[in-house]
Symmetry: none
Subunit: 203 residues, 4 copies
């Protein structure tokens, strides 16, 4: 929003600067958390003075919000990718190993957790997160519906929503699980995820 409100002489460069800040923020946030990361830390990481950041973001919360927004876009992209597969249900099952492995990478889990924790306090963040979740659910539901029909399975909304939410819950639980038990055996977990997800998708 800042970028559209504040007039910048060279919007190209402005966007690049914003990116610089967001990248630095990603690094600092995952190292120290949203509140633990100081503007000074972010500015140093971004190779930019602290004051200058305020030419691109109204305040620290705006950085967090923009950062969260960028992050949720990624999930949405993943959904769109899934949507284009011939047999999306099967594609989803095949995606499991990679997804699980990704989510068990220490550098991956910290940020989702920060975002979730923050949104349970900061209403503005909560709004962004929930809106993104709604869009994701819509996409996911469409995918499920098409996939289930393809396999001749029942596809009423209430049922599918329950299945969907259970599946999302499993993936959203991964960062938490990884935090509590960092050296868990990924392969065995993947096998179990496949069992559970197949049950949810194909029964």
């Amino acid at each position: 929003m800042s970028i559209t409100e504040k007039r910048h002489h060279d919007p190209e460069k402005a966007l690049q600067r914003r990116r610089q800040v967001l990248d630095a923020a990603a690094e600092c946030f995952s190292r120290s958390g949203f509140h633990g990361a100081s503007m000074a830390e972010i500015s140093k990481t971004a190779g930019m003075s602290a004051g200058h950041i305020y030419n691109y973001f109204d305040n620290k919360d705006a950085i967090i919000a923009a950062f969260v927004e960028e992050n949720v876009e990624r999930v949405s992209a993943m959904m769109r990718d899934l949507q284009m597969q011939a047999d999306p249900l099967q594609a989803l099952v095949e995606k499991i190993p990679q997804s699980v492995r990704d989510d068990l990478d220490p550098r991956t889990w910290i940020l989702p957790l920060e975002i979730t924790a923050e949104s349970s306090r900061n209403p503005k963040i909560a709004c962004v997160v929930r809106d993104a979740d709604r869009r994701t659910r819509e996409q996911f539901l469409a995918i499920l519906k098409a996939g289930r029909r393809l396999h001749g399975l029942p596809d009423d909304d209430a049922l599918l929503e329950g299945r969907m939410n259970a599946m999302i819950t499993m993936f959203q639980g991964l960062p938490v699980r990884a935090t509590h038990c960092p050296d868990l055996d990924a392969e065995q977990l993947i096998a179990s995820f496949q069992i559970a997800l197949r049950a949810l998708l194909f029964s």
Copy 2:
């Protein structure tokens, strides 16, 4: 640890004081988060001076740590309860509806999220959390093993650990899910959880 190091004239009262602080902390943490809750807020809620808290806890982190420790005890108790059932696997499935409903209550999910987020930055907290998780896993594994044997199912450790971690992941994902989608349909979710868990337990 504080309680064992610091000499208190009346250990009875000291423990009661600690409880006062921990209860207050629970309230404040879930209201404002670990970092949002100030010692002043906690001390006022505990009906005790800020300075006095330091007679029972070395610092704010120690409160968080002790608080987390208390919290994990609850899970452990649940495990012990499960352990005493005739058919623990069946008991677990039957527990699902209540567990899920509990975890979808806003007052329930905030603290687990705070704890997880905090432990992904604070090594001290991470240590407490992981130790607790290890103990829980041991209990859970024993339960699973006994249950599976009872049902004549394979019970080798690697397999069971994968199943177990998948199940825990599902429950740990609930607070995250609830944050992202506060008005999700609990009943449909419960049905799906039962499908997934049955698959993990009995196949």
Copy 3:
């Protein structure tokens, strides 16, 4: 207001601390102005940490406001003093030399100017100042009325208000005059003030 809202264990000492801050503020404000004086400067002058000041005042504006409030009380006291004289008009004329000399003292004029300038921007301060002015006018008008009647002069409100405001304007102009022309001849000014004020009081 702070002092009544925030609970202090020893209200006696709290008031003394507030006074310490206000005295330091007076010194700093007159040296550097309201905005030029930093909280650090004030706290150092008050012999107290910057943070501690916030136990007695909500913020810097509250210090300014309290300070202004204290200041306007002094004028009110002067009015009450005048009110008790046998021939208040005559007493007022006799007060002129001292009043003028006081207002020409460099340490005296800076603060009234700061207060006036601040109140033309800060609505909260404007409110305090205007309320004080209203009370002062009421007292002054009563004095004038009684005095004029004593001397058998017309005493209708509209007329007296005009005279009163002219007289107050003269005294409020002194700090401005002194700033613009610090080495002006006080005695000649006093003589002229007496001429003007006599005309306003007795014609």
Copy 4:
């Protein structure tokens, strides 16, 4: 001074640029005060980049100083106007209603107050202000002297200086008075000003 020191390619345009800045400054200063008005605000109002202002003014203080200087020129012009009247004392009395009404206009009083307050802290500004005051006094004194002689009244310098300073004090008090009591009755005040000024001029 800046304008004479810094070499400008087109001095004509340079002066116009300075005027642009000074007009913008007038607007911003009266809206937000000297310290409240940021260089960014002034530059935007002036339709010029912030950096460019520094080609015409050494720093913000120089803007204030130049601005003050321009302001005092206006008073000087008024003096010259008065000087050309047949009976300047009478002319002065006749000017009172308009002058008083002007000074009671909110847009008029803010800047004099800012200037005065600023000059009581900023020695550079004080210097400009006092120098201007000295010149004004000289003009005023000459006018008074001529007028008094015209009316066959005593005209020794000490006496006239006192009268003059009393009169200036009255007018300089008006912005202060207006701030403290914004809804005062202008007409009654004018009548009283005439009484006081006549006494100072003709006795």
